[in-house]
Amino acid sequence: MTLPAAPPLTAARGAISLSGITRIFAGHIPAVDHIDLDIHAGEFFTLLGPSGCGKTTLLRMIAGFETPDAGRILISGREMQEVPAFKRAVNTVFQSYALFPHLNVEQNIGFGLKMQGVKTPERKKRVDAIMELMQIGQFATRSAAQLSGGQRQRVALARALVNEPEVVLLDEPLSALDAKLRAELQIELLRMQKRLGMTFIFVTHDQHEALVMSDRIAVMSKGKIQQVGPVLDVYEKPQNVFVAEFLGLSNIWPILSAQGQTAQTALGPLEVADVHLARLCAPPQAPEAVPPPTPGRLAMIRPEKIWIYNDAAAPTGRPNMFPGTIREAIYMGASTQYRIELHCGQFVLAYDTNNQAAERSWRPGENVAVELKPENIMLVEP
């Protein structure tokens, strides 16, 4: 007996495939510009970007509230261009929650089932089950206006989940909450997603939130996707300056020229572990550079990847060791952020963890040496 062929990955229940999606609002530059994106079934996927980057427009097109001007949307392998929002097995948690003001919690949650024609006993059973799961049963008969922000957020999520949609869309659902509640609900949301195994597409402008929650992230800017990948890749190996800077602090220097594993930068010669250095950063006049190298690669290193030593105790004989002076020290609890002026005049941003293993903390004016380990230096596009 042979097993039936597995369906293509993009046809699995809850998988989304976008190709060439474009949306242009009259008289404006494209809000969403030729986006190709595959979202796997059952993953927690985040669209991350600054406000106005098109992430919400993209989400609204998946939901069916907006129609793309070009491109195809496939949900669970089915074409969605002609399918109106109310026929898509997709439910949304809105930024404002958009709970119905004339209905109580129970009725709000049951709205979708009622519209689908689910009969009262069955509906009641499912609404009760989801309220139990979300721990909001005690608010069942309250009106939406009588709930706190966190409770509303739970009701909005329950209202989406009770329909057992193929995909759940979340449009900055935590942005109205205070930091502590937000952190709690991030974890709760994540647990819920893993437990139910539904595809979640989460829109946020908060890089920390994106890092905490996502399986994969798409970083968006100006209607285009800058990089897609697992959280770790996007943070550790950003493709370009925008991604590097949007996901956290970074030190970036343009590479002026490259030879072997050594790049010439404003810091002086910098050893880089990336074996592609020579190919990626070959000087434009090099005759063998038949495919012209992408001009102007930059060297990037995250502040937490920088080692700081006492000037006198700095190990010798290692590459990328630069002497300098602490100019600024900002204590941030778990770590301290230092701004260090190197002797060459460049500034470096470095974090040092405030644990017991940490050698000590430094004060402005002290002389130190910083080490930029070659394997921690990434090459990014402008």
């Binding site: 609002f25 009259a26 609204r60 939901a63 069916g64 509230f65 109106p84 929002a85 109310f86 026929k87 997709v90 439910n91 949304t92 809105f94 930024q95 404002s96 958009a98 709970l99 119905f100 003001p101 004339h102 709205f111 979708g112 009622k114 519209m115 689908q116 309250r142 009106s143 206006a145 009588q146 709930l147 706190s148 922000g149 209202r159 329909n163």
Partner: protein, 279 residues
């Protein structure tokens, strides 16, 4: 903080204004209790005469009929119009274009009713001359009353809808409700207070209206305001006229109170909600 002297001054001014507003109404009520001819004191004589006057009762009946039908139809039309103007307005429009909905709504309201009445008269005459339809009478009055009530209903419904979270409409589509289901399960319940308010306002405006009714009425479609006008023209202000006035004041106050309690009930609900938010 307003200085105490200014506050006293302001409240000092407000009382004469109230007196100016309400004394005439009180006088109407007072004179309605005039005694029967050749008698002294106060009596309900005028009310007795009124309730046995077939002409008055017919006029009243006609006024109520007119008010009910015109208010019902304009509530339905105004609700749909208010919904349409709110739902399908272009959020990105700027300048005059952005204000088209409010222009459409406000223009008939600020139009002098004299102009309105005469233009209705000309229009109905025109249609009647060429088609034989719309002879002056109750039907033309109903149409005329609908036209001036619709903007008020539209305005109340529009204001209610425009104050809602715009994502509610998306949410209902998202939760498997098509246009008609959304209208029945979201729009109607949410704007219900505005619909009731608009209906009551329509009734009040219709019963109150003289100018437009005067121009669009035909023979045998005398409403209460028109009857009062002609009664005064013939016999001057009689206790019966004052009695009608008193009854009208009473009914209008009753309607206003009903509306007040409906809206107050709603506001209390949201006040409570606001308090619930803080905890």
């Amino acid at each position: 903080m307003i200085p105490r002297s200014v506050r006293y001054l302001l409240s000092g001014i407000s009382w004469p204004v109230y007196i100016l507003l309400y004394t005439p109404l009180a006088l109407v009520a007072y004179y309605s209790f005039a005694p029967a001819p050749n008698q002294m004191g106060h009596s309900l004589h005028a009310y007795g005469v009124l309730f046995h006057d077939a002409e008055v009762l017919t006029a009243l009946q006609r006024s109520l009929l007119l008010a009910f039908f015109s208010a019902t139809i304009s509530t339905m039309l105004g609700t749909l119009l208010g919904y349409g103007l709110c739902r399908f307005r272009n959020r990105r429009a700027k300048g005059v274009l952005a204000n088209i909905p409010s222009l459409i709504i406000y223009t008939p309201i600020i139009m002098p009713s004299l102009v309105f009445g005469i233009s209705e008269l000309i229009f109905f005459n025109f249609v009647h001359t060429y088609t034989g339809l719309l002879a002056a009478g109750l039907q033309t009055m109903i149409i005329a009353h609908i036209t001036f009530q619709v903007p008020y209903v539209t305005l109340t419904v529009f204001a209610r809808l425009a104050g809602l979270d715009p994502y509610l409409f998306d949410a209902s589509h998202d939760l498997y409700a098509d246009g008609i289901k959304s209208f029945i399960h979201l729009i109607i319940p949410v704007v219900q207070p505005a619909i009731i308010g608009g209906f009551l306002l329509g009734i009040t405006l219709s019963i109150d209206d003289f100018t437009i009714s005067f121009f669009t009425a035909g023979p045998g479609s005398v409403t209460l305001p028109i009857y009062i006008y002609s009664a005064i023209a013939r016999k001057g202000i009689t206790p019966e006229v004052n009695a009608i006035g008193t009854l009208m004041i009473g009914s209008i106050i009753a309607l206003a109170l009903i509306h007040f309690f409906i809206t107050r009930h709603r506001e209390r609900g949201s006040q409570f909600a606001a308090r619930g938010n803080i905890t």
